[in-house]
């Protein structure tokens, strides 16, 4: 038995003010103090002290957190509740094991080639099981499976993955542009959903970089950032993916200005959670911390380092669409990114803010999307309603997890007229 993580160091300072309760995604569904940030902290402290066991009841409680980090954002003393939840999920995984289908999924995340093959097979066979809506890039299962109910809108795999579609280097610039400060070259980390499913994001990003005359590197051996496994407590998988990626990134990071990611979750995972995860491995932690500043969410890097906005200002206004922007938890709350995508989109699109763009969409991770889908569904309904109320026909967010969740929430709320697009896709359409 390994030593228990020192939860009380983080949970004891909680002053129990209650500020975190009204912003908590799961508290708003359950209205139960056991599933509120304050309650999680109290229970984790009790668990360390031996006052409660990690029994089925406690497991259920700790699995209900959506990891939206609203509580971390509002906490007057900045308690990292998300970190201790991730930690206890590792204890849960050790005690109860990980369900077969999650294990299989994480296995695929570790083995890119097999995932590629599965995805190809999936592409061929998915029409048997799924009714596909090309425009919305969503698919409805034709029958219920043990972990997937029939009424859901799911993402489906594209024919060729992003990483297999493009060469490793794309020269867009004249070499004279390079200076000592800038290499005029970026690497793209695409993220698994962008690689297999929403491949249009990568196509659009390549197009944007081409118009900006910035050279592109597509590091072919990039693996999953580890986020799905981290949120589920499968730390062995995280450890494998993080270290493989770090060692690989180090081989090219000095040749590029940045590693850009059109995904909130992957970018937050890489430049914030990797360091957290490696807290007790100082050498790796330092290597992760060194990489972090170079890893940036795509809209942020484009807005702060290129002339994209000026270029967009010279293009036509789109008068047919109304766009509403949803703030992914991993962008606004974790990385403070909310102005950048809006600044770029508003050059060409009419924008209408929804009543609470910062409210979590309710994706919540692999467990929430499978065993606890009823909670993800409940958390998604208010988001769908506020999107409908804007009368926008496009909802945008730089996050494919939000995309999967919001697309399904709109589907189950019967909001047919709204489609989801990553801001990178919308920008690509204008150029």
């Amino acid at each position: 038995m390994t030593k228990k993580y020192n939860y009380t160091k983080i949970t004891d300072p909680c002053i129990k003010c209650g500020k975190c309760k009204p912003v908590c995604t799961i508290f708003n569904i359950n209205k139960d103090e056991t599933t509120s940030p304050r309650g999680f902290l109290e229970l984790l402290g009790a668990y360390e002290k031996g006052d409660i066991d990690l029994d089925q009841n406690a497991k259920e409680i700790f699995e209900t957190c959506f990891l939206c980090t609203n509580c971390v954002d509002i906490c007057p003393i900045d308690i990292p509740t998300d970190m201790v939840i991730e930690q206890v999920r590792n204890d849960i995984a050790k005690k109860y094991g990980i369900a077969w289908y999650k294990k299989a999924f994480f296995f695929l995340l570790r083995h890119r080639k097999i995932m590629d093959l599965m995805s190809k097979l999936g592409y061929v066979f998915q029409t048997c099981g799924l009714k596909i809506d090309k425009e919305k890039q969503s698919a409805l299962p034709r029958f219920s499976l043990p972990i997937v109910k029939k009424d859901r809108a799911l993402p489906f795999a594209d024919k060729t993955s992003f990483l297999n579609k493009y060469p490793e280097f794309i020269q867009n610039s004249q070499s004279k542009w390079q200076t000592i400060e800038t290499k005029n070259k970026v690497a793209i980390f695409i993220g698994c959903m962008g690689n297999y499913t929403y491949t249009n994001i990568g196509d659009s990003l390549i197009k944007i970089l081409n118009k900006l005359e910035i050279d592109v590197m597509i590091p072919k051996k990039q693996l999953c950032c580890g986020a799905p496994a981290y949120f589920t407590g499968d730390f062995d998988t995280v450890d494998y993916l993080v270290k493989k990626n770090i060692a690989y990134f180090e081989t090219f990071v000095d040749d590029v200005d940045a590693i850009i990611i059109p995904e909130a979750t992957c970018s937050a995972m890489i430049n914030i959670d990797w360091v957290h995860f490696l807290h007790d491995q100082p050498e790796w932690k330092e290597r992760a911390a060194k990489l972090a500043p170079k890893v940036q969410m795509a809209t942020k890097w484009l807005e702060n380092n290129t002339k994209l906005k000026e270029m967009l200002a010279g293009k036509n206004k789109n008068i047919n669409d109304l766009v509403t922007y949803h703030d992914p938890c991993h962008a606004k709350k974790m990385q403070g990114i909310s102005k950048e995508p809006r600044a770029l989109l508003s050059q060409n699109y009419e924008m209408k803010e929804m009543s609470d763009p910062n409210r979590c969409c309710g994706f919540g991770g692999v467990t929430m999307q499978s065993e606890k889908y009823h909670l993800a569904r409940a958390a998604g309904l208010p988001k769908a309603a506020m999107i409908r109320d804007t009368k926008a026909n496009i909802v945008s967010a730089e996050c494919s997890a939000c995309r999967m969740q919001i697309t399904n929430s709109l589907h189950v709320s019967d909001v047919k007229e709204v489609i989801f697009k990553n801001p990178i896709e919308l920008i690509g359409e204008v150029l």
Binding site: K16, G18, K21, P22, T34, G39, D51, N57, I61
Partner: protein, 461 residues
């Protein structure tokens, strides 16, 4: 302790979904913002007034203690199960806004509705609910009524009790009472709604609240005055109010708080500032706001203000308010343990009260930064104990608090302006009340709750 039959009886009333007695629930419902912990024996989530009536009737017959609870964000332990028993959590099912009555300008709500959600809903139709405790976003209206919560806007608009028009409540016997009508005038019978307001859940369980609303003022402007010392600032408060200014809030920070805000948040405040007054003026006519600001500026100048500024937009307003809103976390630079009390004195006694409080702090060697509501005489006194693990220091800290209470009561003030008594201030009740007054409280408690099952031990009863 509850036995199996009790749990089964409650399950039959509220369904098994709505009664929890697993260890996790007992732990999660054992605390509030006092950080004191008492585990209950069970938690019940009633679905309706009818559920509450049946639950209370059963508790009364079986002498089971029951404690009503909203969001559990109280500062004095009002919702803590200090003697075990059942926590009756009203925020799960009974959190609805039932009606906004535009003609009578009333809002009718269930007790579990969060204050801020109610404010937002009434403002959408052009109305205004002024009571704004600092916990407005995370405290329920039921809790606000039970503790008679105040807020920053009290100087102009009053506190919770000024807005409670009528209440529905369940007595410990299970009987349902209606206290008050939708009328503005009502002199028939005792003012039971008035007695229940601030009763800390010890007399009855409130199930429906009818609250007065007023039209929302169209304009608001923020001001800040800087003074060399608190005495000047307090005199400026008296002068401006007597001269016809009617600010929504008149908040003050003393020299220690100013220093703390400057150091902790790197805020640009003048070195020589010995006190600051911050507040808003509001009204329907822009001219009226300007008149009020002129009165404030003149009164401030007459009393030696160093500077007077007004905010030109929301961003500037937020900047002016920052120091006040972050006063509480800022003062932690003075010690690891903050003993904070919210004493209240007649406004005229503010300078005297502050001078005396500082003196008591000096006697024990503690910094005592003070801030709060100078417009209404309510001060947040923070006795800062340098080292919370030092027993002698903690002992002295509590002694200082007791002395402060005695001093404040001697000035004609009271133990609590807005937090209530609960368990935290119960030991000090005999400072503020005579034995016969305490006996009267006990008699009232007994008339409502002869078996002492509702929130026993609170307020020293």
């Amino acid at each position: 302790m509850l036995n199996k039959d009790d749990i089964e009886a409650f399950s039959n009333i509220v369904t098994s979904e709505n009664i929890k007695s697993d260890k996790a629930h007992l732990i999660a419902y054992c605390y509030d913002a006092t950080r004191t912990r008492y585990e209950p024996d069970a938690v019940i989530f009633p679905r309706s007034e009818d559920d509450i009536s049946k639950v209370l009737k059963y508790c009364n017959e079986h002498k089971i203690v029951i404690v009503p609870r909203g969001y559990g964000s109280g500062f004095t332990g009002g919702a803590l199960p200090a003697n075990g028993g059942i926590v009756l959590s009203l925020d799960r099912h009974m959190d609805q806004l039932l009606e906004i009555d535009m003609e009578n300008m009333l809002g009718i709500v269930q007790p579990g509705l969060v204050n801020m959600d109610f404010q937002k809903a009434v403002e959408e139709v052009g109305l205004f609910y002024p009571p704004d405790p600092a916990s407005e976003a995370f405290s329920t209206l039921g809790g606000n009524v039970a503790e008679n919560a105040g807020g920053m806007r009290a100087a102009k608009y009053g506190i919770t009790k000024d807005y409670v028009v009528a209440l529905r409540a369940v007595l410990p016997s299970g009987e349902i009472i209606v206290a008050g009508k939708k009328t503005i005038k009502d002199v028939a019978g005792f003012n039971i709604a008035g007695i229940l307001t601030g009763s800390e859940g010890a007399l009855a369980v409130i199930t429906e609240i009818t609250l007065k609303l007023i039209p929302k003022p169209k304009h608001k402007k923020t001001y800040m005055g800087i003074f060399p010392n608190v005495e000047n600032a307090m005199n400026a408060v008296f002068k401006s109010l007597a001269s016809g200014a009617n600010p929504v809030a008149m908040e003050f920070l003393d020299a220690l708080v100013i220093k703390a805000v400057r150091e902790k948040f790197n805020i640009d405040l003048p070195e020589k500032a010995g006190a600051i007054l911050i507040g808003d003026v509001d009204g329907n006519m822009k001219d009226d706001l300007d008149t009020q600001l002129n009165i404030l500026e003149e009164s401030f100048k007459e009393n030696g203000s160093i500077d007077f500024v007004t905010a030109q937009n929301d961003e500037e307003a937020a900047k002016l308010w920052f120091s006040r809103k972050n006063a509480s976390p800022a003062v932690t630079i003075y010690g690891t343990k903050k003993l904070n009390e919210d004493i209240s004195v007649p406004r005229s006694k503010l300078p005297e009260a502050l001078a005396g409080i500082y003196k008591i702090g000096e006697k024990y060697g503690f910094n005592v930064p003070c801030f709060g509501h100078s417009g209404d005489g309510n001060i947040h006194v923070n006795v800062m104990v340098p080292d919370k693990d030092n027993e002698q220091q903690m002992h002295d800290g509590h002694k200082a608090i007791k002395e402060i209470f005695q001093y404040v009561v001697d000035l004609g003030g009271t133990l609590s302006g807005e937090h209530g008594i609960g368990t935290a201030k119960a030991p000090f009740m005999d400072i503020a009340f005579t034995p016969s007054e305490m006996e009267l409280f006990r008699s009232i408690k007994k008339a409502f709750d002869p078996n002492n099952i509702l929130n026993p031990g609170k307020m020293g009863l």
